[in-house]
Structure formats: C-alpha cells, structure tokens
C-alpha cells in the first residue's frame, strides 16, 4: 500500500523507478500466491486427516445416535461418596511419588547439566552430544513406557513409579538449566579462577548463585507436572491414584471413576497453588 501511495505522490520520472515498483509488486504477488498455496496444502492435509482418522476409522454404528452418546456420558455423572475415605492413602502416595521422583530426577540431572551446557562441558566432542542424547531420550519416551520398563526391572510398586518420573523429568530440567547456564555472566567465573579456585569451586561459587533461582523455578514447575504424571502411573502397576482409577473403570463403577478424577483434580489444584507461590517466592 505504501509503495503505491508513494508512486502516486511522486510519479516515476524514469524507467528505473517504475521497474523497481514493478518488481516489488511482483514479489508481493508471488508471496500471496505462496501463502495461498500453503493454505491450500494445510487445508488439504486437514481434510485428508479428518477423512482417514475420524470418518473411516470410527465405528459409527457402535456410537449410534447422539442420544446414545449422551447416555454413555450420563453414566459418569454422579459422585461415589463412599469411595472418598479409601482415596486418601493413594492420594498421599501419588503426592509422595511425585516429590521423590522430582528429587531423584534433580540428582540425576546434575551430570546431565554439567555435560550439556556448552560453556562448562568438560570435553565438548564427546560429553556434549552424550548429555543431549540423554535429555532427548528422557523427554521423548512417554512416562507410561518408562514405567513399563521400570516395572519390568524393579517389580510392581511405588519404586518403579519414582524411577519412571525421575528419568522422565531429567530431560526438561536439564535442558532448561543448561540453557540458563549458557547465558550466565562470565565475570564471576573469571574472578573465582583468578583467585585460584578449582573447577568445583568455580561451579559452586560463580555459576550456581547466578542460575539458582531459575533452576529452582524449573524444578517447581516440573514438580507440578509430575503430580499429574504420577496420578496415572498406576495404570501400569506403579501405585497411586491411577491404580484406583483403573480398578473403578474395570468394575464399571462409573461414578467412582468421576470421584477419582475429582480427587486427582484436587491434588493437582493444591500442587498448582503451592507451585505458584513457591515460584513467586523464588523469583
């Protein structure tokens, strides 16, 4: 718009000016064409995906009419009050699994952060890719899969859940912490080196104080997510509320399912409130 306005205000006196405007307009037309094509591709992808996943792969006869769906939903309405007392123990377990898992994850994180931050990694060609691989592996495998693996290794129970959560949270904490360390101010590091501090002292007195608030914030955030995760680990036999959920589902006690979900929401709400104030206090 601006270009055409300029050209109307000052008409091109020579050919070069007109050519420049022409080329700009041409570029704009081409860009609009590209945008249109991209939009069409996206729309086509959506249509194709909808066709494959929703239209073809769904058993519409089993779903039936809207009334049938509403009837199925209606089974979940209601709360099984008698279940609440027996939910207390699994709820505490879920909470504890999340806390211990996060703590263990933080401990496992330390070498990953040390190796994974570009400016402090001890031997870049080997340790840096190693740490990155560790982080990606930890983040890309879902907690359910980790829990399955640890159930196979340590047996059923809370310990498998703790290990699964710890390993799963390493990736996020380590990645954010390593990025925080990469952004530090190098003055204190050089100062500690100049007075003869060794590598360990540099880390403890020059790097850690600079990044501690950020890392604590990340850990608290991850803890909040871990409560969510530990609430479902019972599905594969790792204790907590998930086990109760699965049991209610298998015995077709649908109000009980709703009750367990309400309990999960309750502890997550507590976690969210705690994490909000804790992060505020830290940062």
């Amino acid at each position: 718009m601006r270009v055409t306005g300029q050209s109307s205000a000052k008409p091109p006196t020579d050919g070069a000016h007109g050519v420049a405007i022409e080329s700009i307009l041409e570029q704009r037309r081409r860009r609009r064409l590209v945008h249109l094509a991209m939009g069409l591709i996206v729309a086509g992808l959506v249509a194709w995906s909808v066709d494959v996943t929703i239209v073809e792969d769904t058993d519409w006869e089993r779903i039936g009419s809207l009334a049938n769906v509403l009837e199925s939903v209606n089974r979940f309405v209601g709360v099984d009050w008698q279940l609440f007392p027996s939910l207390l123990k699994p709820a505490i377990e879920t909470f504890m699994i999340a806390c211990l898992g996060t703590l263990l994850g933080v401990i496992i994180c330390v070498p990953a952060v040390w190796f994974g931050a570009l400016n402090i990694t001890p031997f870049k060609p080997i340790t840096y890719p190693l740490a990155r691989l560790m982080m990606t592996l930890s983040r890309s495998i879902h907690e359910i899969v980790w829990a399955l693996f640890f159930v196979a290794v340590v047996g059923l129970g809370a310990m498998a859940g703790i290990f699964a959560i710890a390993v799963r949270s390493v990736g996020f904490i380590a990645k954010m912490s390593a990025e925080a360390i990469e952004d530090i101010d190098h003055g204190p590091v050089e100062a500690i080196r100049a007075v003869g501090g060794n590598g360990f002292q540099v880390m403890l007195y020059a790097i850690l104080p600079q990044v501690l608030p950020q890392i604590l914030g990340v850990i608290i955030f991850e803890w909040e997510i871990n409560i969510r995760r530990s609430a479902i680990l019972g599905l594969v036999g790792a204790g907590g509320l998930g086990l109760v959920f699965f049991r209610q589902m298998n015995t077709f006690n649908f109000p009980g399912v709703t009750t367990v979900i309400i309990a999960i929401l309750g502890i997550i709400l507590i976690g969210e409130v705690v994490s909000y104030y804790a992060r505020k206090a830290v940062i």
């Binding site: 996943t53 792969d57 058993d59 592996l137 890309s140």
Partner: protein, 285 residues
C-alpha cells in the same frame, strides 16, 4: 572495628578472630537453612517408609537393568518395524497429533481470551470459570482423557483425536492466557476509546501483538501432542501405541525396543522441525 579488639585478635597467633567469620545470616536466621534440610530429609524418610520402598533392592537393580537390556531388548527387531502396516500406523499417529493439536488450538483461543485477567469480558464470573476449565483440561492426563473417550465412543482414532484435543486445549489455553496478560494495553485502550466492541478490540488490539507468540506456542503444542499421540493407542485410541501395547503384552521385547527406538527417532525429527519452524517465526518478528 575497634582497635583494641583487632589488637587482641592479632595477639593470639594463628587464630582467626571470631568477628572475621562472616556468614550471610546471623544466629537465629542461620537455623532456617538447617531446618529446611531437616524437613526435606524427614519427608524423604517418611515417604520411603510410607511407600514401602525396598531400598535393599536398589544395588541389585542396576545389574538387573543391564541384564534386561542386554538379554531381552537387544538386538532390536528392525525388520518388524520396517513393515508396511507399521508405517501406516505411524502416519496415522502423525495425523492424529496434527488434528488433535489443531482442534485443541482452535478451542484454546476462546479459553485464552476469557481466561486472561486483562481482556476477559467479566472478571468476576467468566475469568475464574475459564481458569478452572483450563486447569481441569490440563490437569486430566491425556491417558485419562483417552480412556474416557474410548469408553464412551469405542476404539478408534476419534477417541484419540478428542483426547489430544482436550489435552492441547488446556495446555495451549494457559500459555495463550499468559501471553495475552503480558500485552501492552495502549492499543487496547485506543481501540476502546474509538468505540470498538469486544470482538474488534480482540482482533485489532490484541491479536497483532500476540500473533508471533501464538504461532510459536502452536508449533510447540503440536510437538507435545505428537509425543502424547505415540501412547494414547495404549488404551485403544488408535496410532502406534496399540502396536506397542500388543508387543509389551506378548513380551516381544526385541520388537518393543525397535518400536521405542522408532518413537525416539520420530520425536527427534518432529523436535528438529518444530525448532526450525519456531526459529523462522521468531525471525519474522
């Protein structure tokens, strides 16, 4: 420092005077740090007791882990996953994640709008209700959504898409709301002063400010949705999770290892793509 004191301090040879010991906190406050440590350690001890964790099994665990990895999961059965059938499931997983993220993002725009403190139509009613709704969407894990939808709608990808939709709506809704809360209110007030209605303020006052951030969040949401999509099949909601579940149940560990490796590779690819896309979006700013 008083001269007499320093003289007496110097008098005792080799001994550092008490006053020179510097600590950040004086006596009563210095106990808080120890108190926190004691609380944390007690909590760990109580939890270990409560959860009945067999600590004695931990040393043997590493041996067992190595044995399990070496004997059962190695070598991964790559022929199994090079199958046409499996590739079809991978494509289905990607489509499911794509649709789930798309619908979830569409749903999360009103959630972000009504759930941001500065732009919500009514601070007393709509804001807390939307906040609670967003939290509920986000708090319920994607697996639980998947189980609920499978039990209502039956097996198939529709249940998976809906589960991912609700999960993504909660995830992106919160981030959108935070992004809208951080905008500059100048343009919004200017729009209001000229008599624009709620919708116009949103489209012309808010959207231009958050467009880039929204795009970044959208790409990130797709990334997260894909990771979740690889496992919702576990409960019968379509995609490669069903393959995984079947092989886990049959204890075909070598095939499980191959499937897990394929998931890792796919997640790596999607992460790289999303990093490139987000980088480009940020540079457009």
């Amino acid at each position: 420092m008083k001269p007499t004191r320093s003289m007496t301090a110097a008098g005792r040879a080799g001994e550092v005077p008490r006053d020179l010991h510097w600590s950040r906190y004086k006596f009563p406050e210095s106990l808080i740090g120890y108190g926190a440590w004691i609380v944390v350690l007690t909590f760990i001890a109580v939890s270990v007791e409560y959860l009945d964790i067999p600590l004695g099994r931990i040393p043997a665990m590493f041996e067992r882990m190595a044995a399990v990895l070496a004997n059962r999961y190695y070598p991964p059965d790559f022929e199994y996953i090079m199958d046409q059938d499996y590739m079809g499931y991978v494509v289905e997983t990607i489509q499911m994640a794509y649709l789930g993220a798309l619908f979830g993002l569409l749903m999360s725009i009103p959630l972000g709008w009504f759930g941001s403190f500065n732009m919500t139509p009514s601070r007393r009613f709509v804001y807390p209700a939307t906040r609670l709704l967003t939290m509920a969407f986000r708090a319920v894990h994607e697996m639980i959504w998947a189980i609920l939808f499978v039990s209502i709608l039956g097996f198939g990808m529709l249940a998976g898409v809906l589960a991912l939709t609700f999960f993504c709506a909660g995830f992106a809704g919160k981030l959108f709301a935070e992004e809208i809360e951080a905008i500059d209110m100048g343009p919004v007030e200017a729009m209001r002063a000229t008599g624009a209605n709620l919708f116009q303020v949103m489209v012309f006052g808010v959207l231009p400010q958050v467009r880039v951030a929204f795009t970044g969040i959208g790409i990130y949401t797709w990334d997260v949705a894909f990771r979740a999509a690889t496992v919702v099949g576990f409960v019968g909601a379509g995609g490669m999770g069903w393959y995984l579940k079947r092989n886990v149940m049959q204890i075909e560990s070598e095939r499980v290892a191959a499937i897990l490796l394929s998931i890792v590779v796919l997640v790596l690819i999607s992460e790289a793509l999303s990093a490139i896309a987000r980088d480009r979006v940020m540079r457009m700013k």
